[in-house]
Amino acid sequence: MNAEVKFLWHKETDVSGLDMIIVPGGFSYGDYLRSGAIARFSPIMQELIGYAKRGGPVMGICNGFQIVLEAGLIPGAMRHNEQLKFICKDVHIRVESTQSMYTSSLHKGQVLTIPVSHGEGNYYIDNDGLKELQDNDQVLFRYVNAHGETTPEANINGSVDHIAGITNKQKNVLGMMPHPERAMEQLLGKEDGKQLFESILQALAVA
């Protein structure tokens, strides 16, 4: 996508000169204790937390979402999937807000098909926290069916309010369970994820 990417090792402590940081998926530290709980204390994370608090864009995908949650950059926590299964399949998510750099080029109500691959993606937040997320327009993506409806079956892992992706209050930190980076090329089956990265690049170019 014509963007230069720099890989940062977890022991590194220099995050200068970056336009944004993506915390990818995986199973850091074997998911021991809780997903993301140990990775949250790696040296790079201390720098990343500072970067995010200064307003730097940070996107956590899957295990990356769990890590930014554990780091307290986004409110809430992850439980095991409601039906206790590891879910690895394409799901539909609906764009709920375009008031963020991540979704500004997308359309509200647009349905994207993006794969998920996780065992602990059952998002939890208490009622007051949820209300705050809703009032501040922090929910960017919800799990829906192919028609864009939030049916009970569409909520694949049991997440509170069908939440698939949310931001912090300042909207510079996004956490999402689906993997947009795995939907980048029609030749490989799907490319809806590309629109999300195009939106980000566009927002960064303007900024």
């Binding site: 204790l33 809780r34 709980a37 140990i38 204390f41 554990e70 409110p75 809430g76 926590a77 439980r79 095991h80 999937n81 409601e82 039906q83 206790l84 059952n122 939890y124 937040i125 208490d126 049991g158």
Partner: protein
């Protein structure tokens, strides 16, 4: 040295899928008197400290920083006498 025994449990209001699955299996085994199962973590910690109060402070800090996620979990600390 002090030996702490820590129980980390999901808050009562939080759905526990693992406990639910175990409960379901126990029902299938005919243990129908069992009305609910909740699964948490049991952690043993050895602490170097000059008294129990100091040891408790250290273990509490370990729990709230890392061992328990206080968004959804509670912890309880006991010392072996």
């Amino acid at each position: 040295m002090f030996k702490a025994k820590v129980n980390v449990t999901l808050r009562p209001s939080i759905l526990d899928p693992k406990g639910k699955a175990a409960h379901h299996a126990l029902q299938n085994l005919g243990l129908t008197n069992i009305e609910g199962v909740r699964i948490g973590k049991f952690i043993e910690i050895d602490v170097q400290a000059s008294n129990e109060e100091e040891a408790r402070g250290i273990v509490e800090s370990a729990c709230s920083k890392l061992l328990a996620n206080e968004v959804m979990e509670d912890f309880e600390i006991q010392f072996e006498s």
